[in-house]
Subunit: 156 residues, 4 copies
């Protein structure tokens, strides 16, 4: 349950390879940034100006493992997720970082060849990351039994 809706939909390119950490509790987390660019005409100069926005993406468990395995700098991805703002201290100053915690990801191609052949969608619910289901879930949350989605074998 939750009050309200918190949804982000992005298509952009990775600025660098993902940074992936394997936590002590068995969970995997991936961090990377993707860029979206909007261009507009400057009122005064009449010139086209590109404005690039960088989005911090966080993926957990199965999605993080897919990112680790398949995503590289420059790749194009569709990310669906939610906004989350974290605060942290540095030099006695509280700082805030807003991230997009992804729960759905589709790889949209890269320049390494075979762009469309890799166009697949992953969600944080079903753990169909190509390495086999149980393996997938196990590495995402080691002490969680892989019975998380009996209902996703129904087409609705």
């Amino acid at each position: 349950m939750s009050a309200g809706v918190n949804k982000v939909i992005l298509i952009g390119n990775l600025g660098k390879d993902p940074e992936v950490r394997h936590l002590d509790n068995g969970a995997t987390v991936a961090n990377f940034s993707i860029a979206t660019t909007e261009s507009y005409k400057d009122r005064n100069t009449g010139q086209r100006v590109d404005q690039t926005e960088w989005h911090n993406i966080v993926l957990w468990r199965g999605l993080a493992e897919v990112a680790e395995k398949y995503l590289k700098k420059g790749d194009s991805v569709f990310i669906e997720g939610k906004l989350r703002t974290r605060s942290w201290e540095k030099d006695g100053v509280t700082r805030y970082t807003t991230e997009v915690v992804g729960d759905q990801m589709t790889m949209l191609g890269n320049k390494r060849g075979g762009s469309d052949d890799n166009n697949q969608d992953y969600s944080s619910n079903n753990n169909d990351s190509g390495m086999g289901r149980s393996q997938q879930t196990a590495s995402a949350a080691s002490n969680t039994p892989d019975t998380d989605s009996e209902m996703d074998d129904l087409p609705f």
Copy 2:
């Protein structure tokens, strides 16, 4: 896994009370229509014209039960789901119906009072429909053990 993205986001009002069926296999399904209205200025007359679009919504299991219990004609809801077109025969003619299969629902208020007090979000993954979790899941898919989302007790 899936190739592509199929997502619908609607906010509209129910034209009638939901029709709810309890299937033999224990599943519950709710059907209702919601209206969204767009107004535009007619080029010739200069008059404002309202154009109302009706959307056929289908909800399964826990969401259907929430709809049965709480949704009435006129209520405003947020629905997130996917498009699905079904075909059926009638008088030897194949007909098509496009529906929105909801996987997320938020009630946005009604005119019966208590609008905001009821503003709650439901998803087809967690079965938090107010009647208790196990009960909820049981009625949605009778022979499915209620272990569907050990991971939703993590805030990410």
Copy 3:
């Protein structure tokens, strides 16, 4: 103004080349279908089953011209738009067709080579379809002055 929200977000592949018509009033309209595929595990057989959904896309004016020029069978596109159900008579029977009227399109690559090089976004508001703005708008709605979006030269 409009009451409610009516939004569709799709990523899929064209089943055929777009059908493009140039209307007498100067407007261009493009029609094509895109497929999204979801796969699920059949409860009884345990087999993976692919379920493909076909979406009827309609694009107007500038977007239609971009489609005419750049989209081909098999191409992958991101489409954002709204649902619209039309009714029409045939043999005395009223039939309904639900379409997605696109107002935003991003080409996500194809198999003809240069996938990412063509990854550009178009909207029904700015008419930046690569052939020059005024030209674009003129063909989209011949008797409409190209002053439609002075505000889109601001980056917010």
Copy 4:
């Protein structure tokens, strides 16, 4: 044109009344925060925990004026927009703030009565804010002629 997609969809409640500024160039800008709450079950305690996320909203021109006129602390709104991260200096430290720049808003009701009667949608393109169209646009960008959307008098 733009490369990629940058879209945010929120439904939440205002934490305070909007702060509205009327700039020297005639533009109006509104800032406010809305909260979305997600609840999850803590693994260890088994308790339900509410996690509230605050989103910084920025609205310009017509939307800002609608916010100034109609939105109050506690009100529920639907916001569609895009993410934008700004940086600013303070005490020699660069700080970042991520905001949602809204381009669509629907008021979903309040506790002051008349919830549904006020359920209307506004966009940053058409300036239909109830005070009359030209007035609306004029205050949003004083030196911009009100010819911005001849095409929005077509229902597609």
